[in-house]
Symmetry: C2
Subunit: 338 residues, 2 copies
């Protein structure tokens, strides 16, 4: 088969690779129905995160099980499955507390931008649907694998409650699905910080009640003006830079909640400032596996349509064009069809 | 009257001052029944926090109301009162959310190491008892004013739940009362990190089930060994240094809670490390006013005896000796009697 490999910044290739095969009795092999490019893929693509030689890419996936190792019990060949970008045994103490993305046996997936994929710890990582879903739901099911699961965790970690005022910093796919998640959790006012018209439109479609185009101190001032000077109850930081993190903290009311779900890049939090901000802070790699059953249900019931974040669909072999489109912000998120 | 003034590191004087008087209609004047030295007073005393010229000291107090401004409604002359180290109107949005120490009208108290004290925003800051308390309860009531309120907030902010495993980093008076608070909240296992025998003893008396004398990486390893390798549910950081903060974070299980209640001094949190730690982080100046009614009740009902942290009692005029005793760690906490 052919799969996606990043050679150096800007150099993504779709090239011959060995077919994946069962390596451990807990593995499964799946035939991917759809995969996609994650904004986190852009950090190494842009040279902002070092790589050690050619690196297989992709960690978002759904598809049909081809083969399972002899210890796999909960999924079987022929089933349609979605999995998390982080593998988990779903039985260790961290998993039982709902932090499957910190499973003691965690591996971060890669190689998913390919037609076939080996998934370790299949029982604890994959969730099967009862039937094969209709094709038009595949993008939304793919979204649950990371980008929706991460947006959902952002809202959950920011403790979004019914009636709350919520701010979302970042208008990438995760931020937009943070808006959708906050709406599902009953937030009354959802302020999306975005300066791009297409993204603003999608934010509104997902449930944003207000748009703030300003950033930094100006953006913070706008949020304070909109909240009687005290800030929002819950703020979702969906970017991962120093500026976005400080913007999020400064938008939050005392005692409010800030979540952060993108790997922070060169972010340093000053203890004294954080102390007087009086916020709750929680984040990390989203424990997508915790949410998968719920999110898959919401998609299958037609209650949410997170697949709308995919505004460009390409054949998998054109993956390099997909990276370029996202790098140049011509696409919010690119779906790849094997 | 005479009051306490810090002139420069190590130079504390008890010297003539003007008697306090009502300045705003929301003020009260109280005659202090007891006051004390806070470990946070030691930062400037040790020259680790700059001061701008001679600085009146003291922010923990209880006493009898002498006089109130014309707008004060909830306390009256003759009543015994306890107040928070932070003033609050108790009506602004931050106060209503329970973050009175971030009241939009907050002032941090000072001048409390004196026989008389002006308390701004008396209605929102002070809590009166029904009767004058017996003298033997005064130390415990004084403790509610800051050190217990802060230890209680540490436990609350670390989300201590019945049955939880809790670690307390720091064996100062706040840490020790963090132990007491965690016990009151139903923690099952409370591990106090302390290498001082007298403090270990008091920690056990307050409810610690285990003592760990090691610090830093060694201390973290001991905690991991005691918790199946995953860390504690709730960790109270009661010191405020980089080492203690990292020790606290590394002792916490994924998805667990870290609180921090002492002003951090030169603490920087690295975003990526915090991200993968997967902890909840919450702290800040303790909203003591939120807890005062409950804590005063617990003291008056004899359910807790936080006053035991005062292991040295001095006449107020010997305040300088009190600072020395705490600086040299000869005393856990010094009570001053006017």
């Amino acid at each position: 088969m052919r799969g996606t490999v990043l050679y150096s910044p800007g150099d993504v290739r779709f090239e011959d690779q060995e077919d994946p095969r069962i390596q451990a009795p807990t593995d499964a092999i799946i035939r991917t129905s759809a995969t996609c490019v994650c904004r986190s893929d852009l950090w190494p693509y842009r040279g902002l995160q070092p790589i050690n030689g050619p690196t297989p890419m992709g960690h978002e996936y759904c598809g049909v099980v081809e083969e399972v190792g002899r210890d796999v019990k909960s999924v079987q060949p022929g089933q349609f499955v979605v999995g998390s970008f982080a593998t988990s045994d779903n039985t260790c103490p961290n998993c039982r507390y709902g932090y499957q993305s910190s499973c003691v046996h965690r591996e971060f997936m890669n190689r998913a931008q390919a037609p076939m994929l080996r998934v370790p710890l299949a029982d604890g990582t994959l969730v099967a649907t009862a039937d094969h879903p209709p094709a038009d739901l595949v993008p939304s099911l793919l979204a649950t694998s990371d980008v929706l699961g991460t947006g959902w965790f952002a809202a959950d970690a920011a403790s979004v409650k019914p009636g709350a005022t919520v701010v979302v910093v970042g208008d990438g796919a995760v931020g937009l699905l943070g808006v959708l998640s906050a709406r599902q959790m009953g937030a009354e006012r959802i302020i999306a910080m975005s300066r791009h018209e297409a993204r603003q439109r999608l934010a509104r479609e997902f449930g944003a009640t207000d748009i703030v185009a300003e950033r930094g101190d100006e953006g913070v001032q706008r949020i304070l003006d909109m909240t009687q000077g005290i800030g929002a109850d819950s703020v979702l930081e969906c970017v991962g830079t120093q500026q976005s993190m400080m913007q999020a903290i400064h938008c939050t009311r005392r005692g409010g909640h800030v979540s952060y779900v993108g790997v922070p890049h060169e972010v340093e939090l000053h203890g004294t400032e954080l102390f007087y901000s009086h916020v709750h802070l929680h984040g990390g790699p989203a424990p997508v596996r915790r949410y998968l059953p719920l999110l898959i249900d919401l998609v299958l019931q037609g209650k949410i349509n997170p697949g709308k974040v995919f505004d460009l669909v390409l054949p998998l072999e054109q993956v390099a064009a997909g990276y370029r489109a996202m790098d140049e912000r011509r696409a919010i998120k690119v779906l790849l069809q094997p």
